[in-house]
């Protein structure tokens, strides 16, 4: 099912909760929606909450990494928040890197990381 992505505005930041097992069109829609909202709200950053995501394959990871890059070109910073332990282990073994996006343990920490500016956080 598509149409399940919603981009929420939190101050000058955007928050997107990724559904557990999105199909490819949904993943594509996520990128579109995020970039539109970046433009519309002139947002400073994006938090992608992937805490419910159970499978992160190379296509999905590449879309996330590319989205983060595009958000960067539009002047925002992206934090990937809440990756599950099992997903992180699998992604590492698969050789995924997320293109050096920032990461945070949860949405709360991600928002604080973006809110307090450039320093801190894992790369």
């Amino acid at each position: 099912m598509t149409g399940s992505i919603s981009v929420i505005r939190v101050g000058d930041l955007l928050l997107v909760t990724v559904p557990p097992d999105p199909d490819d069109p949904t993943v594509g829609e996520l990128q579109e929606g995020v970039l539109r909202a970046m433009e519309q709200y002139d947002a400073k950053g994006l938090v992608l909450d992937i805490s419910t995501v159970e499978t992160l394959d190379s296509f999905f990871a590449r879309t996330i990494a590319e989205t983060a890059q595009m958000v960067g070109l539009m002047g925002g910073r992206t934090v990937i928040a809440g990756m599950r332990a099992s997903v992180a282990i699998t992604a590492t073994q698969l050789g995924l890197t997320l293109g050096g996006s920032l990461t945070a343990l949860d949405v709360d920490r991600a928002l604080r990381l973006l809110g307090r500016g450039a320093q801190g956080g894992a790369r």
């Binding site: 934090v79 990937i80 928040a81 809440g82 990756m83 599950r84 332990a85 099992s86 997903v87 992180a88 282990i89 992604a91 590492t92 073994q93 997320l98 920032l102 990461t103 945070a104 343990l105 949860d106 920490r109 991600a110 801190g120 956080g121 894992a122 790369r123």
Partner: protein, 318 residues
């Protein structure tokens, strides 16, 4: 060939499971042939005639030793076991020695292992059987001693096979204990402890092989998520040596931790370990490392913007 086994059934069958037995190969080795099967079938009437008294004598022996008597707490149990023993005894001359026989014997072995009957009593019992049956078989074939001898050898072969299967189940049970304990050792030897709000410490002790590192990685990452800790101190003071493989595993763990949104400080990098890492050409430049756990803890506090301040001793109010 996918069979439909429910999750519960599976769990039950994995406990004390014996790896597949090369039953035909074992029979061939002791020289158990279809002739032997036929001879045992011929013994059936003899066995039926004597089963009752053989079992009685068998238990007299068992009851005259305190260690084996302990297994028969009351009359009811003794009678039940006697009935089963009679079944076993008659089973020797049943004439069918295929898969069903094998399964039955393995199950009998498992039961004895489970109740804790030591092998010395179990193996001794087979000898008692031989002593009790030998004269009876010879008497039954008094008219044809040559056949009597062959029949006795057939019995000896099948009992030997039974003994082997019993030993197999005991060994399998022992191996299972070893597997379980080494699993427990892995868990005990890689604790992940929360030492401060936001800081976990994982002291690694002993050498790290692939399987152990993988389990360690899972435990570490799960604990980081559970405790919501942005900093993990991985202490390798207790790791005797480091090779390329181990270092690779450590780097992989550190990479995975970053994906979670936390970071690893590698502590306990002793001079010898530092030398090895450089000589092996392992690049840890993107990773913060410290020689001691205490130094690592300071890094953790810095990362969390925490400051340790010397204060007045407790109770020393002005």
């Amino acid at each position: 060939m996918a069979s439909r086994t429910g999750p519960l059934e599976r769990r039950k069958s994995t406990a004390g499971e014996v790896a597949p037995v090369d039953w035909e190969g074992r029979k061939a080795f002791v020289g158990f042939t279809s002739d032997d099967a036929q001879l045992l079938r011929d013994l059936r009437p003899v066995a039926e005639a004597y089963a009752g008294e053989v079992v009685e004598e068998f238990y007299r022996r068992f009851l005259s030793f305190p260690e084996t008597r302990a297994f028969f707490a009351d009359e009811a149990r003794l009678n039940r076991v006697k009935a089963m023993q009679k079944q076993y005894f008659l089973g020797l001359t049943e004439g069918e020695y295929g898969e069903a026989y094998l399964r039955n014997r393995l199950e009998i072995g498992r039961v004895h292992q489970r109740i804790g009957l030591a092998p010395r009593w179990y193996m001794g019992a087979y000898s008692i059987y031989m002593q009790l049956t030998f004269p009876r078989v010879l008497a039954a074939f008094a008219h044809d001693l040559e056949k009597g001898q062959r029949a006795f050898l057939a019995l000896l072969k099948i009992i030997t096979l039974d003994k082997e299967l019993a030993v197999t189940t005991y060994i399998a049970a022992g191996e299972e204990i070893i597997t379980r304990q080494s699993q427990e050792i892995v868990e005990i030897s890689t604790p992940v402890i929360q030492v401060w709000n936001g800081v976990v410490v994982a002291p690694l002790i002993g050498s790290l092989d692939s399987q152990r590192t993988q389990q360690f990685m899972e435990r570490l990452l799960e604990r980081i998520v559970e405790t919501n800790s942005p900093v993990a101190l991985v202490d390798i003071t207790g790791v005797p040596t480091i090779d390329t493989q181990t270092a690779q595993h450590l780097v992989e763990t550190i990479t995975a931790v970053r994906l979670l949104g936390a970071q690893v400080v590698l502590t306990g990098v002793r001079p010898a370990i530092a030398q090895t890492l450089v000589h092996l050409g392992i690049d840890l430049s993107g990773i913060s490392t410290r020689s001691s756990l205490a130094a690592g803890l300071r890094v953790a506090f810095d990362l969390l913007d925490l400051r340790v301040v010397a204060g007045a001793a407790p109770g020393a109010r002005e």
